[in-house]
């Protein structure tokens, strides 16, 4: 307690930043984690809408049996791009947007550890996303499925550039994810405010840390898998070709060693988000904080040991199947613990149902369905019936939509006022929630029935006598409702930006450090670096000690928020690093190099060497930018 009384009031010198810069150039060269977070969020949201549009086309085609609205080839491109877009271009970067924006604020830092590397990650992500999507303009969109099973991806069966766009695009995106993850891990370990011990970290920051570590371990697997595929496709090696002594099973192992942790990489951030929201709107600390932390670590750890449950039908043999069934079931335990702890947080709380809270509780309720169907799939013989059917599609949409998307929407309603300084319209927000909830269940619950009725995934058409028509019609109608809910959301965003009520610093009476500063926060975040004495610091500030003595005002010690206000009023001169355009240039270099791998022409021929121009330009730009970046004064 005493430490807060002696809060140092030193303002760092020297001085640079004054007013926030504006204009497009300031955004292109920004290294501010908040702006980068926003750009991640906005671009990812665009891809979320694009992926949703692709899903609506899929549903239009499947609305009735023997439909010929969309050709087989186009349909196969659509489902491939829907999956690829949603996972790599929408959900992952959206979570990355939250990590970027919220995490440094939660730990009382002024930015991430490597701000320019952070900008580099953003721009690499955007170039990767563009590379994958320009395939549409060449009528060569990826068509091998988001999981790209060999040998269908080999040149014998996929001679076009469709697979190349995907292979190279994902490889580029991997660079962005790895760079961002290292950045977050270093930031969390090193830039925590004084007093913020690991077990005082806000739970969302814990999620950021664990997910980043997972990415660091998971992505190398797909990098290697894609590299081997590149050799197969470009150099004629045969890593995945039986005829050349390779094995398509190798791809599946490498892919799912990445692919299964990836599922947790997508869901754990959402868990982190609602673990902040539910306590705030229950006015109660998170039930079993330390158990929640350990459960997250357990899920992350076990998540690396269950990949072969995606391969129960490839014939790995009874022992492998039994072991991976057991491991998969084990993962249900920490996940269940999380569910119970959220419900425990709500019990005896004082619940307020803002839109953020509705989506958070919606996640708890809907994720249970995805979790339970997941346990069904761990039962290997049952999985042999359900694998690759609509039952699986229902399952993972309850996880990735009912879980991740609900969590992300909750997060937007929760932190949106912090980022924009304005409040959402809560009435429209509630409409948005209920439309999403109904549309979501109408779309995805009947898919369980379709799966039980034996409808396989990735079918561009089905016969009338299959009996799948009626439920497909319901599903397609549900998809329309779900699509409409996003229009309502867009309108709500527009309304917030144009006419939103001022949010104030702490509109939700929240507990973590980001609510101690203005909304939107100043470029330097904290005028003075805060000192942390408790886990839910702001609640402790506002309502007294954490041992149950509610309603006790601690007026004798300075509060975190007051200290920030006073320091801000004194016009602090906080030293911030200069903006830089080298991260953007370096990313452009990498992007150009990747494009060069796709477009070998134009080329320069010197003797026997046939050098693609784009590759040379890209590599040159990359090397130049990295050098210039290294020697650029930080400001």
């Amino acid at each position: 307690m005493a430490s807060i009384a002696h809060q140092p009031q030193i303002v760092p010198q020297p001085v640079t930043t004054t007013k926030p810069a504006t204009g497009i150039w300031s955004w292109l060269t920004t290294i501010d984690h908040k702006r980068i977070g926003l750009m991640y969020g906005i671009s990812a949201f665009f891809f979320l809408l694009l992926g949703g549009f692709e899903a609506l086309l899929i549903r239009a085609q499947l609305a009735q049996p023997e439909n010929d609205l969309i050709s087989a080839q186009r349909y196969n491109e659509l489902f491939t791009m829907h999956g690829t877009t949603m996972i790599f271009l929408a959900l992952m970067p959206l979570t990355s947007g939250f990590f970027n924006y919220v995490m440094p604020l939660q730990i009382g830092a002024r930015d991430v550890a490597f701000p320019r590397l952070n900008a580099f990650s953003l721009w690499v992500f955007i170039f990767g996303a563009i590379i994958i999507n320009i395939s549409w303009f060449f009528n060569e969109a990826p068509n091998q499925g988001w999981y790209g099973y060999a040998p269908l991806t080999g040149t014998a069966w996929s001679p076009g550039r469709n697979v190349d766009f995907w292979m190279i695009g994902i490889q580029v995106l991997g660079v962005a994810s790895m760079a961002a993850s290292f950045n977050f891990v270093v930031t969390i370990f090193n830039l925590r405010a004084p007093g913020m011990k690991m077990m005082r970290l806000p739970i969302f920051t814990w999620s950021t840390l664990i997910v980043s570590i997972m990415i660091i371990f998971a992505f190398p697997a797909i990098t290697v898998a894609l590299l081997l595929l590149s050799f197969d496709r470009y150099a004629g090696t045969g890593f995945y070709e039986v005829a050349a002594g390779g094995d398509p099973l190798l791809w599946q192992h490498l892919f799912w060693v990445f692919g299964h942790p990836e599922v947790y990489i997508l869901i754990l951030p959402a868990f982190g988000i609602i673990s902040e929201i539910i306590p705030v709107f229950s006015r109660k600390p998170l039930f079993g904080y330390s158990v929640m932390v350990y459960a997250t670590i357990a899920i992350a750890f076990l998540g690396f040991g269950v990949w072969a449950h995606h391969m129960f039908t490839v014939g790995l043999g009874p022992t492998a199947n039994a072991v991976f069934a057991g491991a998969t079931m084990l993962i249900g335990i920490p996940t269940g613990v999380k569910i119970f702890n959220w419900v425990g947080t709500m019990f005896r709380g004082s619940l307020r149902f803002t839109t953020a809270m509705l989506f958070a509780v919606g996640l708890v309720s809907q994720f249970v369905i995805g979790g339970l169907s997941g346990v069904m799939h761990a039962v290997v013989p049952v999985d042999a019936q359900q694998n690759d059917t609509y039952f699986i599609i229902a399952h993972f949409h309850y996880v990735l939509f009912g879980g991740t998307v609900f969590g992300l929407l909750a997060g937007i309603y929760f932190w949106g006022p912090k980022a924009f300084g304005k409040m959402f319209d809560e009435r429209i927000g509630k409409w948005h929630f209920w439309l999403t909830f109904v549309g979501f269940n109408l779309t995805f619950f009947p898919m369980h029935f379709l799966g039980l009725a034996g409808m396989p995934r990735r079918y561009f058409t089905y016969a009338e006598d299959s009996g799948w028509g009626p439920w497909n019609a319901v599903v397609s109608f549900g998809a329309l409702v779900l699509g409409f809910s996003f229009l309502v959301f867009l309108y709500n965003i527009y309304k917030m930006v144009r006419h939103g009520e001022p949010a104030g610093d702490d509109p939700w009476d929240a507990a973590t450090l980001e609510w101690a500063i203005s909304s939107p926060p100043p470029a330097y975040n904290f005028a003075v670096i805060p000192t942390v004495t408790h886990r839910d610091q702001l609640w402790w500030d506002k309502y007294g000690d954490e041992h149950g003595h509610a309603h006790v005002q601690n007026d004798d010690v300075p509060k975190t928020a007051e200290i920030q206000r006073e320091a801000n009023a004194a016009h602090p001169h906080v030293h911030l690093p200069n903006p830089s355009y080298f991260p953007l240039l370096a990313a452009a270099g990498l992007g150009t190099f990747a494009l060069g791998m796709l477009f070998m022409n134009p080329a320069i021929t010197i003797g026997l060497l046939h050098l693609p121009v784009l590759v040379i330009v890209g590599v040159a730009l990359l090397i130049f930018s990295v050098y210039a970046w290294a020697f650029e004064p930080a400001g």
Binding site: L152, P285, L452, S466, Y543, H551
Partner: protein
């Protein structure tokens, strides 16, 4: 902490919780029922293997439903009971409870153990059955159809090669050996067993005991390119004597009924228009028994090489008795056969036959000649009757003449 829980509120609460529980239970009962109408139903088992799976499914389904109902009731209860009533209220900051944490870790663990034990038992039981079969059918998955070879232990049928209709006798422990020399497919007859992938470079074996006479719908369940959705097949379980008659007829070659469509009335020959088909197709007992040099080896004995077997088409012996054309796309009628021969690529996107035969490649006369010939390829005494599909409400009957 004081809360004004009046009796009225309690009653509302109880009613709401009951209502929710009823809705959920109704949904739960619905779940096992709705899937059953399809010919591809996964919950209408017709073999011991599928019965085993169904038993496991029911176990895990009811346990999952119990957990689901419990959690949803807890959520709804919390939502209704602890709604904020006054802006001043500050609940007690409870940080956790060790006993509760232990309880809700141990209970799921016990439930999972209850599921895990029979899971492992079934995994190993089915693995044992693979080694104890008495009737081996080799299945070669192609883009996008199925080639079927009968192994030496199939009695009369040893050496028979057919496509898409897998005829097997009743009462056998059939082992399907799965091969692919192209991409990955997945062999799946939902009423008879779970699916098993067809992995290039690997030999996968699926045991199915043929208990009930009937026709069972199968389909490819692993994405395999353009026409993945159009790669269907049937397993037709017949009494032993009918099966033997079918195999004998296959080996006997075309009956006299074909004589009027072939040159010189010699049933060992094929119609003139069939010349183009010879590159990929065979008819047992005719001069089309072997495809031309370079293709026949791979076409008949598929060894896993990539080459021409990618292209070689179905063996057409007894084509007149097949249930469908194009791997389950069209019922086998003369009209449909004519449609198929006119422009196969329009019916089955990406099919290799579409590269050889485009619209206009065959004239109407040739098409008619081929249709007549192909539909005549059946035993002299006619095709055996296709049995109905057990366990499915609405029968889908193939238009087999």
């Amino acid at each position: 902490m004081h809360r004004g829980s009046t009796g009225g509120r309690r009653r509302t609460l109880t009613r709401l919780v009951t209502l929710l529980a009823l809705i959920v239970l109704a949904g739960g009962f619905l779940l096992p029922v709705v899937g059953a109408q399809s010919p591809y139903s996964t919950i209408s088992p017709q073999s011991p293997q599928a019965e085993d799976i169904q038993w496991l499914y029911r176990l895990v389904f009811w346990l999952a439903l119990a957990v689901f109902v419990g959690v949803q009731i807890a959520i709804v209860y919390a939502v209704l009971r602890y709604r904020r009533r006054s802006n001043d209220e500050r609940p007690e900051p409870i940080h956790g409870n060790k006993n509760l944490e232990i309880i809700w870790t141990v209970i799921p663990a016990i439930i999972l153990l209850i599921i895990f034990i029979p899971t492992v038992r079934t995994i190993y039981a089915h693995a044992d059955q693979v080694e104890n079969g008495n009737f081996t059918v080799e299945v070669y998955a192609k883009q996008w159809w199925w080639e079927i070879h009968y192994a030496d232990d199939t009695g009369e049928a040893a050496g028979v090669v057919t496509a898409n209709d897998i005829v097997v006798p009743q009462g056998k422990d059939v082992v399907f050996k799965l091969y692919s020399n192209n991409v990955i497919h997945s062999f799946w007859v939902p009423q008879l067993s779970g699916k098993l992938d067809v992995m290039p470079g690997h030999e996968n074996k699926l045991p199915i005991t043929t208990e009930n006479v009937g026709m069972y719908f199968g389909q490819c369940a692993e994405y395999c390119g353009d026409s993945h959705a159009l790669m269907r097949f049937k397993v037709i379980v017949q009494p032993q004597e009918e099966f033997d008659a079918w195999a004998t007829a296959w080996k006997a070659g075309p009956s006299e009924a074909s004589a009027e469509f072939v040159a010189d009335g010699d049933i060992a020959k094929v119609p003139e228009a069939f010349g183009l088909c010879l590159a990929c197709h065979q008819v047992e007992g005719t001069n089309a028994a072997f495809a031309p040099e370079g293709l026949d080896e791979e076409a008949v004995t598929d060894t896993g090489d990539m080459g021409p077997a990618k292209f070689a088409g179905p063996n057409l012996s007894l084509m007149g008795c097949r249930t469908t054309i194009g791997a389950g796309i069209l019922p086998n009628t003369p009209e449909n056969m004519a449609k198929w021969l006119e422009d196969p690529g329009a019916i089955k996107p990406g099919v290799y036959m579409g590269e050889v035969i485009e619209k206009g490649t065959l004239n109407d006369e040739q098409i008619q000649q081929l249709v007549n010939y192909l539909e005549s390829l059946k035993p002299a005494e006619g095709c055996s009757e296709i049995p109905v599909q057990p366990g499915v409400e609405e029968q889908v009957m193939p238009s087999n003449p």
